[in-house]
Symmetry: C2
Subunit: 426 residues, 2 copies
């Protein structure tokens, strides 16, 4: 096939006519497809149904340290739950606190706490004049929504193949005390699927931010979410790297079992330094008597240890991998020779990041929608929903069935071609 760039106006017009015909045919099918949501599919959730039997009316309800898990108390989690979450995060349990059903509220509450009370002897953030966060892009819209809701100014930097642009980050934090934090999904990043290299992690750990109350928000959401056994990304432990640099307090790390066991009914954890833990506990002990220890016990009894987690994630991968392959193979077949777009081909995580020609992404979204397919809001992968280049689209392959995924990928590729031709003819 000829590249669009090499086509004459006449050839492009002929291509447009043929694409439009195909598009109208798709539209007439009355499709209902959804590639927007980073949600597990029902068959993934089926894998964890036995979790619900792991604690039952005949169970011993005592934790390893002889706590009655049915009663109040133990604000920072059961010892065995700390062990399990530490293994998932690649750190040691003495750095870990286990909380409720999801990690997003832990991140939110950590920032709320910094706003209200401050850290490291600095003024509460709400009393400081200007607050900024660095936001690697494309990134996770719910991170951006949190910082935006607190009135924190967001500075985009590029997410590259080996992690965020560290040159830019080092330069930004060095002189500007208003820069208080950075969002990072270090492994299988949302949405690129790319991970921080060892060098990137080490450069994060060695940061010398001007603000003493600067913190890295290390959202290790996809720590164990490999798609392939033979080519999994590895991620250095940021906690110990920070310690080596004399920067122990620099990072708050977050993880959950939401996409390991049951979404919204998992367990979630934070890992950080002793000083940061003491700071968090001082406030959390006022906020709650304790989180749901029975659900912690349920998870520990079901998964037992890292081998249980890995076995589960292998089964998850078997269900998700064909859907990723459906998207990638369709995009390859339909688009690669045209040289009008690029996309990531990650080794894990929940997303594929797609780059159209500049100025085409919103139009692709509209075309998809009109043909019965929802994609993630175009722009959502950028702070304030503003993708200046109008080119990034997050593809979420997990939720639809494999059959739907093939149909969705084909329709998507068609919309990409149509929007691109329109753009070239405009």
């Amino acid at each position: 096939m000829k590249k669009y760039a090499d086509m004459t106006i006449e050839e492009l017009k002929a291509e447009q006519a043929s694409l439009l015909e195909a598009y109208e045919a798709k539209k007439a099918m009355g499709l209902k497809l959804d590639m927007s949501r980073g949600k597990p599919a029902p068959d993934q959730l089926d894998l964890s149904m036995d979790l619900l039997d792991a604690v039952n009316s005949s169970s011993d309800m005592k934790s390893s340290n002889n706590i009655d898990c049915r009663n109040y108390g133990v604000m920072d989690g059961l010892p065995e739950a700390k062990e399990l979450m530490a293994e998932i995060m690649g750190t040691t349990s003495d750095h870990v606190m286990v909380f409720g059903n999801a990690s997003l509220p832990i991140m939110y509450d950590t920032i709320a706490r910094l706003m209200l009370f401050g850290i490291a002897g600095e003024e509460p953030w709400c009393k400081q004049e200007k607050l900024s966060f660095i936001c690697p892009t494309p990134g996770y819209d719910r991170h951006f929504a949190i910082t935006e809701s607190f009135g924190i100014n967001m500075i985009p930097v590029e997410w590259k193949a080996d992690g965020p642009d560290m040159d830019a980050i080092e330069a930004l934090v060095k002189d500007d005390a208003s820069i208080k934090g950075i969002w990072v999904v270090p492994k299988y990043s949302n949405p690129t699927g790319y991970s921080c290299s060892d060098e990137t992690v080490r450069r994060f750990a060695a940061l010398k931010p001007k603000a003493k109350d600067f913190r890295i928000f290390w959202d290790n959401a996809y720590a164990v979410h490999d798609l392939y056994e033979d080519k999994a990304d590895s991620l250095l432990d940021i906690i110990s790297e920070c310690e080596k640099c004399g920067n122990a307090d620099l990072v708050f790390e977050f993880a959950s079992t939401s996409k390991v066991s049951l979404a919204g009914a998992g367990i979630a954890a934070m890992a950080t330094s002793a000083a940061n833990m003491a700071w968090a506990k001082k406030h959390i002990t006022i906020q709650t008597i304790g989180y749901d220890k029975i659900n912690q016990l349920r998870h520990v009894r079901y998964f037992k240890d890292m081998s249980g987690i890995k076995a589960q994630m292998k089964k998850q991968a078997e269900l998700i991998r064909p859907k990723f392959e459906a998207v990638i193979s369709t995009l390859e077949r339909e688009l690669s020779e045209l040289d009008i777009a690029s996309w990531t081909n990650p080794n894990g995580g929940y997303f594929i990041s797609f780059q159209s020609m500049n100025g085409c992404a919103k139009r692709i979204g509209v075309l998809c929608k009109e043909a019965g397919m929802v994609i993630t809001n175009v722009g959502a992968t950028y702070p304030y929903g503003k993708d200046e280049a109008d080119s990034n689209i997050r593809i979420a392959p997990t939720y639809p069935s494999l059959d739907e995924m093939y149909k969705a990928a084909e329709l998507f590729a068609l919309c990409v071609k149509l929007a691109t031709v329109e753009k070239l003819l405009a």
Copy 2:
């Protein structure tokens, strides 16, 4: 027995000598007793073990509105969980949002939200110069800890037999815009066990606070926690009373099943007006994707409706009532004729409130501790831990066994007598 007030110095000295002898004998027994904690006893938790089977690997995981409870979403709770919690609170489900495992973090987060974002078009509380809360006393130390942690000035008013001193409250809120809220445990108050009368609830609903962002924090923690079938307190629905007064936005109500099902693994809810709900949802939707819907489903499938809740609370009462009676009967026998103390005799809840002679409570705490018994920190029932009269002690009869409770009550009465004689001789 002779009243202590009528005794001569010599008689008091003789009494002291005899009490000391008894006290030393108790001390020598090496007791380990705990009347400090408002925790259910293991036998109460045993009552809810079948809850853990109510959802299992064979269960249909769909909610009444066909939501897969295993997946993300539904930030404000399942419809059937709203129904159940509405019944417990005596309101309708359209006022209710169901959240996580406990109500304390809902209260904390509500105040944190007011601090950071404000309500009713007013400045965020953290930007306002002075903030005050009215704290009916004796009251719940964890409420006071929340307001103290946010730097909110606490103003004590007296909790009487029919609820807080409404004359004082009406006078305070009328002219002072810095008064932003009040803590109320309206039924079987912690620690008095007394409830708000209908008139008190109506006066709360009719309050005309100067601050537009004043809110009542109505912690209906003991809504269904009756001890006796034939003499349960009743509580008017504050939500509808507020509506009748054109004051719909005045109240945030909280409740949980922590002391109905399993402490720390229950479900918790907030009830409030449409405007307050919209305000809360706007922020909570940034904080979380959703709470644990499986635990909500578990509770609904187990309890079904209010009759299931009532049946459970009847069983709970059968276990707790003898412990309350152990305390009350011991105090009656040991102390009533001496005319040196008073105590409440509530129809429900988790506590008995004890008043010693002024200036004796701390000493009673020390004497108890030295003889091997922990009681709630003396002073904890007052803001900043300061009971000016040094006379209130919270007795928590639920956690010890009945046998221990008799021993504990006897030791407590002995310590009261000893501290009182010491005081009279000082």
